[in-house]
């Protein structure tokens, strides 16, 4: 029984190590700083093109092609863009500054929640 438990502990530890390294390697490929930066630029450029033409985001989403298969609606666009910006900010060590800025009173005014232009 003891030998079985010891073997199980070793197997679980090896599995846990493989899993940890695997997740790290996958994220390294999936979430590189360079790739995230390029994706943010692509989304900004897409948004600018659509705004210039006066189209709705939903109609123009097909232009994003295979680069962003997860974006199917305007809400998906917003979610993906926010996630990329936060992850990019985190990667370059400015996550705390970003949150401080978001909570600043002066900047809250541009959120268009209140009355104004």
């Amino acid at each position: 029984m003891k030998n079985f438990m010891k073997c199980l502990a070793i197997i679980l530890a090896i599995g846990a190590m493989v899993q940890t390294v695997g997740v790290y390697a996958l994220e390294e490929v999936k979430y590189s700083l360079e790739k995230d930066g390029e994706a943010i630029i692509k989304l900004i450029e897409f948004r600018q093109r659509v705004a210039a033409r006066g189209d709705s985001i939903e109609e123009a989403l097909i232009e994003l092609g295979n680069d962003f298969p997860e974006i199917k609606t305007d809400d998906d666009f917003k979610n993906s863009f926010s996630e990329l910006v936060i992850r990019y900010s985190n990667a370059i060590g400015m996550e705390k500054v970003l949150y401080e800025m978001v909570n600043k009173k002066e900047l809250k005014r541009i959120s268009r929640d209140g009355p104004g232009i």
Binding site: K2, L8, A9, L12, A13, M17, T20, V21, E27, A91
Partner: protein
């Protein structure tokens, strides 16, 4: 103190067992949440420790009350470590790997100790087999390795790490002293 009175006074095993089973249930919940195999390793270790506590043999010689209190403080110290403030993914990876290696040592030591398990140093059955053939204090060594990982991802943990390591050293010295005249 004779064996019978020792058996009557060994009520701490119920507390130890309950605590370890509680940790085991929590570790299982964390595994369910995250699907990380590391938590299954904790489940194995905690349930094994819980069972062995319940079945453990009464101690021949126990440490003093002060030594017992120090041992319980030492055992609780890993719970006070601060969470990670580190943004480097490499350091987080190293920290996670150290936690796994550390708890593998702890799990192997727990299984090898069997019913000789205890928090405060006491003379039960002397264990020199398995991992105890290679490492004198695998349980404490395992905790030190995993706590080192926690120190890597938050510099504030360095103070706790030094204090905790000193307490493990104290417990290991005391154990050696109690077990030195083992027959």
């Amino acid at each position: 103190m004779d064996l019978e009175s020792n058996m009557q006074s060994d009520r701490s095993k119920y507390f130890g067992s309950l605590m370890m089973f509680g940790f085991g249930v929590f570790a299982f919940y964390r595994w369910y949440q995250t699907q990380l195999l590391f938590f299954l390793l904790l489940v194995l270790r905690d349930f094994a420790a819980g069972y062995f506590f319940l079945k453990r043999t009464p101690a021949g010689t126990k440490s003093t009350t002060t030594a017992s209190i120090i041992s319980y403080i030492s055992a609780a110290m890993p719970l006070f470590y601060f969470s990670s403030t580190e943004e480097s993914r490499v350091l987080l990876l190293i920290s996670n790997l150290l936690a796994i290696i550390g708890f593998l040592l702890v799990a192997l030591a727990t299984v090898e100790l069997g019913t000789s398990i205890g928090i405060s140093p006491a003379k039960r059955e002397l264990v020199t087999s398995g991992i105890y053939k290679w490492v004198k204090h695998p349980m404490y060594s395992g905790y030190v390795v995993s706590e080192l990982g926690m120190t890597l991802v938050n510099p504030l943990n360095l103070i706790l790490f030094l204090a905790s390591s000193a307490l493990y050293y104290y417990r290991s010295r005391l154990e050696r002293l109690i077990l030195s005249n083992y027959k």
